[in-house]
Symmetry: C2
């Protein structure tokens, strides 16, 4: 049989009992004849506890030492999981990111995996061991320093290992049963998706769904690794993220790809409007250059003429709220140079996105979406689209109504409540 | 100026304030013009907490995974110390045992250092950084597995680094002001020693003094590294452990080596007597072979004829109490073969040792020692001697009286109480 890669997050490893439950799941897969490689996050609140310790000794800890500190978290959980497996009569070997051959660039705190050289893993598998790998961490190719991959990094570790080991599947265990058509806290009748394409999952992740990290999905798509998102608290089938889930989903009957995968929302963004920009070549470029210099990632950008009689224009864009202050400062610095009138800042906004690979071949999606929002009394602030996504900016207070109305308009509601949230949220 | 190696134990790193205080001490040495390399233990109770976690998932965790788990402790403390140094405006680089080039054999849980290849340390020093190294850990030469050095291992790490880096001194920071002529909890008037020879310190460590680990002193002696044992809670000079402390002690005036270094005691041993062993060639050897096969380290051994009329002998020996059950089982197994009469087990014993390099050239030490014990009403059970040590086994309940009487008889009492114990005990 082939190799199964699994990932367990912090909420699945909250305490000794949880670790023993995870060990039993792992051993069950081994018993069924597969080789098993597991990426683990730090236990429960470990990462937050370590951050507290760091803040206790230094208000601005060096990134290199922060990575050294945080990587202790996965070291602890992986050793404990290996011990629990041993207690069940199977042998396990734990490896740090560095030992597992997770090679990254050298950007501490948000390193990117550039290669995986799993020699020690394949040797341990060959010797019959179950392999446990510390998620979220690696070692830099040039400086040989310990690095971390940033939030959600263990998902990425798991998929990267699956790719390097040519695994049959990468199972991402979490505290919900899979990917839903909307956040069940906002839409109680949200349905669990049996399958979703990489492209749809990328759009869902980019638009506020927190179930899988963006880079993990990108990695899965690039190497064609089927990702099975499921709960570590139940035995239910979860959601398969793969190339063509409608036709190949291993559990579902063959069926047409559904038009809409789901409705995502995101209330982590703010909107800045630069009012009264002279409508000349190069002015907009100067504004975005200043924002790029300040290392700010923009999301949606809209330019519109503010008044027909003048030669002035307004430029609006959205960005992470956490970057709001930095962006306002960077823009204020170029006011004289660009000659704009004023800046408006609004962080009481939310983004609602309709996502579905089917929408490229189905006309009328946009009008049905906007119609649903209008019926719910939701005002649209900004619009952006891709081939498989339509996003709108609305008032933050309207986000719930907008998501529910859209979910209903596209017949996504389940007959009964399907979603169960089993625990907290891990890394 | 040269390189100073320092070691801080868990009680010196108990919390954020303690870590900041340690960071200030380190920076002070750097400011004075030295390069500084620091070996750290895990913070306060971290190791015990990790052991509790391990016991929570498995009653008998594999040693490899236990080492992987426990080494997280020093990783946390070294990163925090580096951060606290950075906060004082100096740069620090932390390194795991593996990164620091601490190469060991592959005996998990009590590995021995076989080499130190400090390339990354010397590079970091050359770049002007303060270097923080995780104590207690290394990487095995052949299997490249993470190992730990056993209890007191961070002392050994520090001295091994000092030897590899050809440091001027290895400062061992602890929670007492130095090495005392007796345990101040038993003899309140114990005096702090300004200097003590490696040989005396080895005997003190072997006979129950817990201030320095035996292997650390052995390492220091082999490479001629002066070890300065002192408190991290005061600025007092501590005790210098070196080749000829009486003549070269850097703080004391030139003086004759004192006759007696101190009185040590140990209540961790038990005594086993094999009664009625046939007095034939090979019978004793068979007994000690059985004990060696059971991996038991013996301390004192005494053989005496039990009754002149018979050809039987009794063999008594002491061993760690923790090995008592194993030894009794191993001996019971060979009773028929050896044909001894019975086994006696006594764990209500204590060992009191008088140690001093001066005693080899001073006759009358033994008689004065035994006279002091007799005056205090202490009965002697067993005796063993080396050139610079006399040890006796007494009833456990007599240990305090024996130590105090000996301390007074050899004029070791100070005029006032010198010892301050500042905190708990670290690894």
């Amino acid at each position: 049989m082939g190799i199964v890669v699994q990932k367990y997050g912090g909420s699945s490893l909250a305490d000794a009992d949880a670790i023993k439950r995870v060990a039993r799941r792992i051993v069950d897969v081994k018993k069924s004849g597969h080789d098993v490689v597991v990426a683990v996050s730090a236990m429960g609140d470990t990462t937050d506890d370590l951050l507290d310790l760091a803040n206790g000794v230094s208000p601005l800890p060096p990134a290199r030492e922060m990575d050294m500190l945080l990587t202790a978290g996965e070291r602890i959980s992986m050793a404990l999981v290996a011990m629990a497996i041993s207690d069940l009569g199977y042998t396990a070997r734990s490896f740090t990111g560095s030992q597992a051959g997770v090679i990254t660039d050298s950007v501490h705190g948000k390193a990117k995996i550039i290669d995986v050289t799993p020699g020690r893993i394949t040797q341990a598998i060959g010797e019959g061991h179950i392999v446990i790998v510390a998620g979220f961490q690696g070692v830099s190719a040039d400086t040989k320093e310990i690095t971390t991959l940033g939030r959600g990094g263990t998902d990425t570790t798991a998929v990267a290992l699956a790719a390097a080991l040519e695994a049959d599947v990468c199972e991402i265990y979490t505290d919900v049963d899979g990917v839903f058509t909307a956040d069940p806290r906002i839409v109680p009748t949200a349905r669990k998706l049996a399958g979703v394409s990489y492209e749809e999952m990328l759009e869902l992740a980019a638009c506020g769904s927190k179930i899988l990290h963006l880079r993990c999905v990108e990695y899965g798509r690039r190497y064609g690794i089927p990702i099975h998102v499921r709960s570590s608290f139940s035995q239910l089938q979860g959601t398969w993220v793969m190339s063509d889930p409608g036709l190949d989903g291993p559990e579902e009957e063959t069926m047409e790809q559904p038009i809409i995968a789901g409705v995502a929302h995101d209330v982590s963004e703010a909107k800045i409007t630069v009012v009264g920009v002279p409508d000349k070549v190069g002015e907009a470029a100067r504004i975005f250059e200043a924002l790029a210099d300040a290392q700010i990632n923009l999301d949606m950008i809209v330019q519109n003429i503010s008044a027909a009689a003048t030669s002035l224009t307004d430029i609006s864009f959205t960005l992470p709220r956490t970057d709001g202050q930095t962006a306002m400062t960077a823009l204020a610095r170029i006011q004289a140079e660009v000659g704009y009138d004023k800046l408006l800042y609004d962080d009481k906004i939310g983004k609602v996105s309709l996502i579905g690979a089917g929408m490229r071949s189905h006309p009328g999606i946009t009008s049905k979406f906007f119609g649903a929002l209008a019926s719910a009394g939701v005002n649209i602030g900004m619009i952006s689209t891709s081939e498989i996504r339509i996003s709108v900016i609305v008032d933050e207070s309207s986000v719930g109504d907008a998501v529910r109305a859209t979910h209903t308009a596209f017949d996504l509601d389940a007959d009964e409540v399907e979603a169960v949230v089993y625990g907290g949220t891990g890394r």
